[in-house]
Every structure is written in C-alpha cells, then in structure tokens.
Amino acid sequence: MTTQDKQASTMIIGVIAWLWVLIPFGYGLYELVIKIPALFGS
C-alpha cells in the first residue's frame, strides 16, 4: 500500500468514525431541541 493509499484509507475511516458518533448525537440533539420551545409557551 502506497503512502497515498494509506492516507486515503485513513481519511475514509475518519469520516466513517465521526459519522458513527455524530449521527446518533444529532438524533439526540434534535429530539432535545424540539422540546425547548414549550419552555417559552407557558
């Protein structure tokens, strides 16, 4: 494997790894944020 190939595979792994954690976190964040407007509705 050339250095260029290695860099490319590291980048792909990096993107997948960050998506692996950011997608569930984004879901949790969305579920949370939609509750906040009720705080100002009462």
């Binding site: 954690v21 569930p24 949370l32 509750k35 906040i36 009462s42």
Partner: protein, 459 residues
C-alpha cells in the same frame, strides 16, 4: 485474543491520525452516558414488575444509585490496571460489563426477578461505567498534549450527551415493545433492555477497534513541550503517591462540591421549574415547559463540558475552577434573591450552573495531568471519581430532604429551595477555597523524570 487486547497491539503505526481517537472515545462515552437516562425506565418498572409495591419509588432508583456507586469504585479499583493493560483492554471490559448489565436486566424482567435488574444494571453495568469512563482519558491526553482540555472535553461531553440519545430511544423502544402505557408488561421492558444491550454492543465496538496509543516519544507536529514548572506537566507522579498528596484531596473536594452543587438543580429540575413558575395555561402546558427546562439543562450540561474545558487550555485549569466555583456561587445567590422575578434571568443562571457542573467533570483530567503528569493519570482520575459517588448521594440527599421538609411546612414557591441554594453557595465557596490551596506537587512525590525523544508525528 489476549495479544489483540494488549497495549503493544494498540501502538499506532506511523501516519495514524490522532483525530480518530476522539470518535473511539465517544463510541464508549456516548453509550455509557445512557446512565443519565435511567429515569425513563422508572415508571415502566414501577408499573409492571413492582406494581402495587409501596416502595416502588425507592426500588426503581436502586439500579441507578448502585451503578453510580460502582462507577466510582470500579474506576478507583481498576484505574491502575486500565493504565497498565491499555485502552483497548479497558474498552472491551467496559463493553462486556455494560452490555451484560442490560442482558441480565432483560433476564430479570422476563423471569420477574427484580433483584436481577439491580444486580445487572447496577452492579455489573456499573463496573462497565467506571472502566469505560476512564478508558480513553489517559490515551487522549497523550495524543493531545497541546490541547488536553479539548480532547477530554470531547469524550466527557459524550458522557453528558449519552442521555440525549438514550432517553428518546428508550422511550420509543418501550412504546414499541409494550413496556409502557396501558397494558404494559415486564416482557416489554425486558425486550427494551435486550435490544438496547445489542445496540450498545455494536456501537461500542467502534471504540475498541479504533483506539490506538501513540508510540513512545510521539508528539504533535510543530509542538514543543513546555519547559518550565510542575504545572506544565513535566513531572510524573504514580497513582499510589498521588493519593498521599494534599493536591489530590483538595481537587477531590473541589470536584465533589462542584458536582453536589450541580445536582442541586439537576436532581429536581422539573419540580423546581414548576414551583418557580406555576402559572401556565394548563397542567399539560406546565408539564411541557418543565420538560423543556430539563432538556435545556441537559444541553447545557453536555455543551459546558466541551466549551469550558477547551477554554481551560487557554486560561489554565485553576482559573477555570475559580470561574466554575466563584461564578457558580454568585449565580445561586442571584437565584435566591430574584426568586421568580425574572424567568429569563432564572434560565440564564440555571443554564450556566449546569454548564459548570459538566465542565467540572471535563476539566478534571487535564487538571490532574497538570499536577501529576501523564504517567498514571487514568488511575489517578479513577480514584478522583469517588468524589462523584459521594456527591451523587450527597447532592440529592440535601435537596430532597430540605424540599420535603419545606413541603411539609407548607412553604411554597421559590422559598421552598432557599435553604438548599444557600447550602450550595457555602459548598461552592468551600470548593473555591480548596482550589486556591492547590499548589504544585512536592518533589518527593515525583517519579524519575521521563526521558522521551520525539519521533515523527502527524496531527
């Protein structure tokens, strides 16, 4: 298999990006942060397995309380082994224990044996929490010597953020499997435990597959270690020696009181909101507003971990704790004085207090590194987390006992919380003094100085 788990097998090859380490850490922390969402299970368990039991409130709190106690104990007991065996071993142990906790709990639900839920989630799962919590910390500090606050802030934010994922996910699973609502069954709750366990087994595997430790002498490209002062992290102190220093115990007091003060609001967030602002259009609107308040505090807890911890890289750890404790005490004072006079001011104070609560956790590992070096920082961090176990009992005890007494005395509105808030101010002031007393560790506690030589690096 043993070789795969060893520290040597996790040494990064040249060119391995250190930016793969935070997602590895987050895979563990986002999962074990589920602990903060335990309350979602309380009503379904009370309505099914513990139906008719007058002590269901206390009993449904048991698994969580035991889990937090086990978190502190296992982090303290296994910290040295985590440092010695490496992060992959620790992450596999954490995954096994955490997932086993869910599976044992599922078995308890299916067989109607509630003690299995306590043993599984509380005892076995709690060990997973403790080992998992400290597993990536020292590795992150070694990969990010230039930004220890940022790196540990990301991971520990994950622990705060874990509940954001687990809470809605658990509610949806409980509804789908018949664990909640009319006709709820224990089997439905058990199925939720089972599926969550399987989801976490897959999710956490990314952590132990990705985690790497830097090669000896590695340092980020273009970074030169600071050359002056013990607080610059040039000296190493073993975990055994660390607990003999006043600095460790002063920081223990700082963390304990900072956590206790945060729990003061977190523990009773919804009732506090309802007592401060009871005038809503309808009971449903009040409940929705209180839920929004809880959600906002959860967000502040998670974001405070990364925001303030990252700031500590710029202004120093001691200054940040001055800020958390000093400003925290002032905010509690404002809350006490304004009562329900201004909703906006109330929200700002509560949000900041909770952000300081989370930040206290996230900044602690970098503070430990500054004081004791990187040698056994994971093990020292584990011992420090016993402060959390104590605060986890102390905080709710103070707030609930006082609130119950005030309710019995027919005190209503914000005045119901005045004594609690005053106690929090005193605790934060004591923590502030303890932080002021922290000085560099005496030479006699230092290990022989590490003589590492830099090698090629990637950032």
């Amino acid at each position: 298999m043993a070789a795969f788990l060893s520290r040597d097998a996790t040494i990064a090859s040249p060119g391995w990006s250190r930016w793969l380490i935070p997602p590895a850490a987050l895979s563990i922390h986002l999962a074990i942060g589920q602990a903060y969402a335990w309350s979602v299970f309380k009503t379904p368990l009370a309505a099914t397995m513990l139906a008719g039991n007058p002590n269901s409130g206390v009993l449904t709190a048991l698994p969580f309380q035991l889990a937090i106690i086990m978190l502190g104990l296992s982090a303290a007991l296994f910290g040295t082994r985590v440092d010695a065996n490496g992060p992959r071993w620790a992450m596999v142990v954490a995954t096994a224990c955490f997932v086993a906790g869910f599976l044992i709990s599922a078995l308890g639900c299916y067989t109607g044996q509630y003690w299995l839920v306590v043993l599984g989630y509380g005892f076995v799962g709690g060990i997973g929490l403790g080992v998992g919590y400290i597993s990536p910390v020292s590795t992150l500090i070694k990969w990010f010597p230039d930004r220890p606050g940022l790196s540990t802030g990301i991971a520990i934010m994950g622990f705060g953020g874990g509940a954001l994922i687990a809470s809605p996910l658990t509610s949806q699973l409980l509804a789908a499997f018949g664990g909640t609502g009319k006709g709820a069954t224990a089997a439905g709750v058990g199925q939720t435990f089972l599926v969550l366990g399987l989801i976490y087994a897959v999710f956490m595997s990314a952590g132990w597959l990705l985690i790497r430790v830097p090669a000896d002498g590695w340092r980020p490209a273009g970074w030169t270690p600071p050359t002056e002062g013990v607080l610059a992290g040039r000296f190493d102190v073993s975990a055994r020696n660390a607990i003999r220093t006043p600095q460790f115990w002063l920081l223990w007091v700082v963390l304990c009181f900072n956590v206790t003060a945060g729990i003061g609001i977190l523990e009773r967030a919804a009732p506090i909101y309802a007592d401060f602002f009871p005038n809503a259009a309808s009971p449903a609107a009040l409940a929705a507003a209180a839920a929004g308040f809880v959600a906002m505090l959860s967000l502040a807890n998670a974001l405070g971990r990364i925001l303030w911890s990252t700031t500590s890289d710029l202004v120093g750890r001691k200054n940040m704790y001055r800020f958390y404790l000093g400003v925290g005490a002032l905010l509690y004072l404002v809350l006490t004085l304004i009562g329900n006079g201004s909703k906006v001011l109330f929200l700002i104070c509560a949000i900041l207090i909770l952000s300081f609560y989370g930040a206290g956790f996230a900044t602690a590992p970098a503070y430990l590194r500054d004081l004791f070096g990187t040698y056994q920082v994971g093990a020292i961090h584990g011992r420090l987390l016993t402060a959390w176990s104590v605060a986890g009992v102390l905080g709710p005890l103070i707030v609930n006992a006082i609130a119950d007494a005030q309710i019995a005395a027919k005190v209503a509105g914000p005045a119901r919380y005045t004594p609690s808030f005053i106690i929090m101010i005193v605790l934060l002031a004591l923590g502030f003094v303890a932080n002021e007393l922290i000085k560099p560790v005496a030479d006699r506690f230092h290990e022989e100085r590490a003589t590492s030589t830099p090698t090629g690096a990637t950032a």
